[in-house]
């Protein structure tokens, strides 16, 4: 029986722990200074908005951990000593491990703006961040969000739920157009504006101005617009939280470098989740993937490896999801923001401006490459199978209605979509 110590109680660390317990009798200890129990980070916004309470975001009841012999330590890891195989804690005695799993997640980026450390300026990633946001946004008359990504739009929606006017600075020409094709990004930008958000595109933060008391007072954009505000949400991405690994001998670049078995340069030291940077290539995937699903999958794989069944991390076709105010988004496969010359694509938008789909396929082989869907739910199972099976776009269109996952009685649009597709791409029908 080994002692497996996991640093971090997010989805990656917890998934690893649960699966190790299913597969073995190892002693498991999870250390976190964020919260006593695992909660769903993705639900932070719903606590602020009053949809949920913190306790609702805990996927397992508190008795679960003891019952499954998973020890929880509420403390902060300050240092790791691979030499003595020990983890040093801020308050408690250090902990000895046989196997160490680092799942320390990310931290919000700051890019050295003037005033970025003023009171009222913050990111949103952890539970303490949420508590801070609760405090910082009390009784304010305007907030500014910087950064056109998923956390940015979440923060905008959160603040809006409290009737706080929001100015939303997005560097790109449309919201999240570093990821979404322009049509999709524009579609979402319009939706954001329809919710009364003051969306400023092609706009960057230049400086944050403070009051004498060290609180945020206003921001200045790169277009020299001054926006008075009492809250600034910095949502310009996250990066691996690895500062505490300095001088530990664990190799890092942007993140902790791991091999296909998620092992670091040191034996018996593994890393999973947001803090990881893959040192090897996976086709169509970035080396750092900070999403819930990849964290969970790494946890599943690592549990196998630790329990004597060495397993490579080989995720299937990419998928992700989000919700932008009222519009749900799902994606399967790869839909690049700027298509390569090899790629053909087809964008459909419903007259309501609340539903859209975007298909991408290889121009020559006609192989289906990916889909973005907005406001229409699609079945993961089918797209996973079709992407693996390299089905062509015509096959996807012909079977599109099978993939609909909307509730009963919803209006269906497959006919319209498929007809529009063949109208725009008559050559494919002929083939």
């Amino acid at each position: 029986m080994k002692h497996i110590v996991i640093v971090g109680n997010g989805i990656s660390g917890i998934t690893a722990a649960r699966h190790i317990r299913k597969l073995s009798n190892h002693k498991i200890t999870i250390i976190s200074s964020e919260t006593k129990h695992f909660f769903s980070r993705t639900a932070l916004m719903y606590i602020y908005m009053g949809h949920l309470k913190y306790e609702h975001t805990k996927p397992y009841e508190d008795f679960f951990w003891k019952k499954n012999r998973i020890d929880l330590v509420f403390d902060h890891v300050t240092k790791i000593n691979p030499g003595s195989r020990s983890v040093q804690l801020a308050n408690g005695p250090s902990v000895q491990y046989d196997v160490l799993v680092i799942a320390s997640g990310s931290k919000s980026n700051k890019f050295g703006w003037a005033g970025q450390d003023l009171e009222g300026v913050q990111g949103l990633y952890s539970y303490p961040d949420l508590e801070m946001m609760e405090k910082n946004s009390k009784g304010i008359s305007r907030a500014v969000i910087v950064g056109g990504g998923l956390i940015g739009i979440e923060m905008a929606e959160m603040l809006q739920s409290r009737n706080i006017p929001v100015t939303f600075l997005v560097r790109e020409p449309e919201f999240w157009s570093v990821v979404l094709p322009l049509q999709d990004a524009n579609f979402i930008s319009r939706h954001i504006r329809s919710h009364g958000i003051d969306l400023k595109l092609n706009t960057e933060l230049k400086e944050i101005k403070g009051t004498g008391a060290g609180k945020v007072k206003a921001i200045l954009t790169n277009k020299n617009d001054l926006v008075e505000c009492q809250f600034v949400g910095l949502a310009v991405g996250v990066s691996p939280n690895i500062e505490f690994l300095k001088n530990s001998g664990i190799e890092t670049a942007k993140g902790i470098l791991v091999d296909p078995y998620l092992q670091t340069n040191l034996p018996d030291v593994y890393a999973i989740g947001d803090c990881v940077e893959r040192s090897y290539e996976l086709p169509g995937r970035k080396s750092i993937e900070q999403v819930w699903y990849t964290g969970r999958m790494m946890g599943e794989v690592l549990a196998q490896t630790i329990c004597g069944n060495p397993t490579k991390y080989e995720p299937g076709p990419w998928f992700n999801s989000a919700k932008f105010f009222d519009i749900e988004y799902q994606t399967y496969g790869n839909v690049p923001n700027v298509p390569t010359t090899d790629e053909a694509n087809f964008y459909w938008e419903h007259a309501s401006g609340k539903k859209a789909m975007h298909f991408v396929w290889n121009r020559r082989s006609k192989t289906f490459l990916g889909i973005n869907t907005f406001g229409i739910r699609l079945r993961h199972e089918f797209f996973d199978r079709w992407l693996r099976g390299q089905k062509d776009i015509q096959f996807v269109m012909e079977n599109l209605s099978k993939t609909n996952f909307d509730p009963e009685f919803y209006h269906r649009h497959e006919m319209e979509i498929v007809n529009a597709f063949y109208t725009q791409h008559p050559s494919i029908k002929a083939a």
Binding site: I11, K22, S40, T42, A43, Y46, M49, G50, H51, L52, K53, H56, T57, K58, P59, E61, S161, R162, S194, H195, W292, Y293, R296, M297, E300, V301, Q304, T311, K312, Y313, E314, P315, G316, F319, S321, A322, K323, F325, D326, E328, Q330, K354, R377, L378, R379, H380, E381, D384, F405, D406, P407, E408, F409, Y410, H411
Partner: protein, 593 residues
């Protein structure tokens, strides 16, 4: 918009205030005419008239005082009767002396001669209540004396008040009937005006409060629910719950106090069924209005979902037509009151003797009702649950479900999702089902054999206990009164025997399931939180497993609130229904066992 909402709230509160005030707002004058009309038995009427004479033509200012006076009259009458007709200790002694140690009813004749009225009553009731002692031999005279005293006490407690005075059932009826007749109030003089000032203003205010919601964009708008004192067991929720509980207690146990409310809806009742309103007409009227008005809210709130719109329209229709209007029209046509969508064992009195007799006595339509009711139990439930899941009833047709899904929707997040709650739920709801079945079998046994004793219980007591405990207490007081405390499906989840029956079919033989979409779950907890039945939906979703639970009423809200499009209510081939948990995404990981 804000102004409209506030205006609506004020109007609603005004109507609600007038409604509550009208509860107290009447004078009561007892007259001879009322007594003569309400008490049919001439002897009892005489006794009552003489005892109540001091109250005649005197105006009493409050319902509490008037009911108290009536109670006093009944008590005095009963006390006097007991005094007059009680078997005295001397008489008992004589009886013992004459009997020796072996009791014979013949001795009763020698002690109580039938020539005078009092003795004749004593004679008759002693024979009735002491019948079981006939011919028994006792060890000593003291033992016999003890038994005889028992008989005498029973006669005092039951025999005398039943036969000569007013037992508790008669008192209940009379208190209600007399109070209602004796009331004089602005409401009675102008009921239509007060219908407008109470129900009218409440409906208008509620709609003005609700309609501006339509200006918000379509989609899930659960903002601030857990900061709301109404929806998170805050002061407003506690107040509302307390009011509801009080309302149900008065409705079921003390209707004599709410006569002014009932008077208010007399014109509606007369219009629909040709008779004055009773308390359950008032209840049905309020119930239907709640479902209709809050149904409008539900539709606006979830208007992005056609599933929710259709489902809500369905419960609104079934409540209005099937539960409210059709039964009233049946009464107007002199047919038995019958709710064609109420199914045993939720409709627990379906097999009671008086109902069966009513069916039989009403010819073709009566027999049709009996057959229809049985067909619902043995055909509709299993067949429709097989094809659609129990939702066809619980969240599309049922009245309790209808109220829960409309009036109760703001409280759905308050149901407990703890494993412990599930354990309690399973025992409780199936316990009630077992109780309902046992009670019904016992009642039918009595119907066929004429014997009121079944195995270990008196079937009349049994059905009374069921009606009181389950029918009134659980389904009413707790079922709705606890909305703001434990969520809107307390009754359906912990108590409804029909839900238990539908659930058993759903669990073991149905095409219905909630499926999860591949690996898209992010464990956020919205589905579990907004599940009114307290199902921990997330527990299944995050491991990619179909959700098949006997309690699921298929309201579809988990699917609506899911921000990632993970959940869907589906009807598919039974094969592979339970499935293996699969989270799509990882090439090297096989599904969990």
């Amino acid at each position: 918009m804000k102004f409209l909402k506030l205006f609506g709230l004020i109007i609603f509160l005004t109507g609600f205030f007038i409604f509550n005030a009208s509860f107290f707002w009447a004078d009561y004058t007892l007259t001879r005419n009322i007594v003569e009309e309400k008490i049919a038995d001439s002897t009892k009427r005489k006794v009552f008239l003489s005892e109540a004479s001091s109250l005649f033509d005197r105006e009493v200012k409050s319902n509490f005082e008037f009911v108290r006076q009536l109670s006093l009259i009944f008590k005095n009458i009963n006390d006097k009767l007991v005094e007059d007709f009680k078997i005295s200790d001397a008489e008992l002694r004589t009886l013992v002396e004459r009997s020796g140690t072996t009791f014979s009813l013949i001795e009763v004749d020698s002690v109580f001669r039938t020539s005078n009225e009092t003795a004749a009553f004593k004679n008759k009731s002693f024979k009735e209540f002491g019948n079981q002692l006939e011919g028994r031999t006792f060890d000593s005279k003291e033992d016999l004396a003890k038994e005889l005293r028992n008989v005498s006490e029973k006669i005092a407690a039951y025999g005398i008040t039943n036969k000569l005075g007013f037992d508790r059932y008669a008192q209940k009826d009379l208190k209600y009937g007399v109070t209602k007749a004796a009331a004089d109030s602005p409401v009675k003089r102008n009921p239509l005006l007060y219908i407008f000032l109470t129900f009218g203003l409440c409906i208008l205010g509620a709609l003005l409060y609700i309609l501006p919601k339509a200006a918000q964009s379509e989609g899930i708008k659960n903002n601030n629910i857990f900061f709301n004192p109404m929806k998170n067991v805050g002061w407003l929720g506690v107040l509302t719950g307390t009011w509801l509980i009080a309302f149900y207690i008065v409705l079921y146990f003390y209707p004599e106090y709410m006569t002014n409310w009932i008077i208010m809806v007399d014109p509606v009742s007369t219009l629909l069924n040709g008779h004055e309103a009773g308390r359950f007409f008032l209840y049905g009227f309020i119930y239907t209005l709640c479902i209709l008005v809050m149904g409008v809210r539900m539709i606006i709130h979830y208007r992005h979902s056609r599933y929710q719109i259709f489902r809500t329209l369905s419960v609104m229709f079934f409540q209005t037509a099937f539960a409210f209007l059709i039964p009233e029209f049946l009464i107007r046509l002199n047919k038995p009151y019958f709710d064609f969508k109420n199914i045993w064992p939720l409709d627990y009195s379906f097999f009671f003797d008086y109902r069966i007799n009513q069916f039989i006595e009403n010819g073709t339509i009566g027999i049709f009702m009996l057959g229809w009711g049985i067909a619902l139990i043995v055909i509709a439930v299993p067949v429709l649950v097989y094809f659609f899941g129990k939702r066809w009833y619980c969240s599309w047709v049922c009245g309790c479900g209808g109220l829960a899904e409309t009036l109760g929707d703001p409280y759905r997040q308050l149901s407990s999702k703890k494993l412990k709650a599930w354990k309690i739920e399973r025992w409780m709801v199936h316990g009630v089902l077992a109780f309902a079945i046992f009670m019904t079998v016992a009642v039918l046994y009595t119907y066929w054999t004429g014997s009121s004793w079944f195995l270990v219980v008196d079937t009349y007591t049994l059905r009374e206990v069921y009606g009181l405990l389950i029918g009134a207490g659980f389904a009413g007081v707790v079922g709705t009164g606890f909305y703001p405390f434990m969520g809107n499906r307390v009754w359906c989840r912990f108590g409804c025997p029909l839900a238990a029956y539908l659930g058993l079919v759903q669990r073991f033989k149905s095409r219905f399931r909630i499926t999860t979409n591949g690996g898209q779950c992010i464990s956020c907890g919205n589905c579990s939180t907004y599940c009114e039945m307290g199902i921990d939906v997330r527990w299944y979703a995050q491991r990619g497993q179909n959700i098949i639970r006997s309690s699921c009423v298929g309201c579809g809200i988990c699917s609506s609130v899911c921000p990632r499009g993970v959940l869907n209510l589906e009807l598919k081939d039974e094969k592979g229904r339970f499935g293996k948990p699969i989270l799509i995404g990882n090439d090297n990981i096989k599904p969990d066992a």
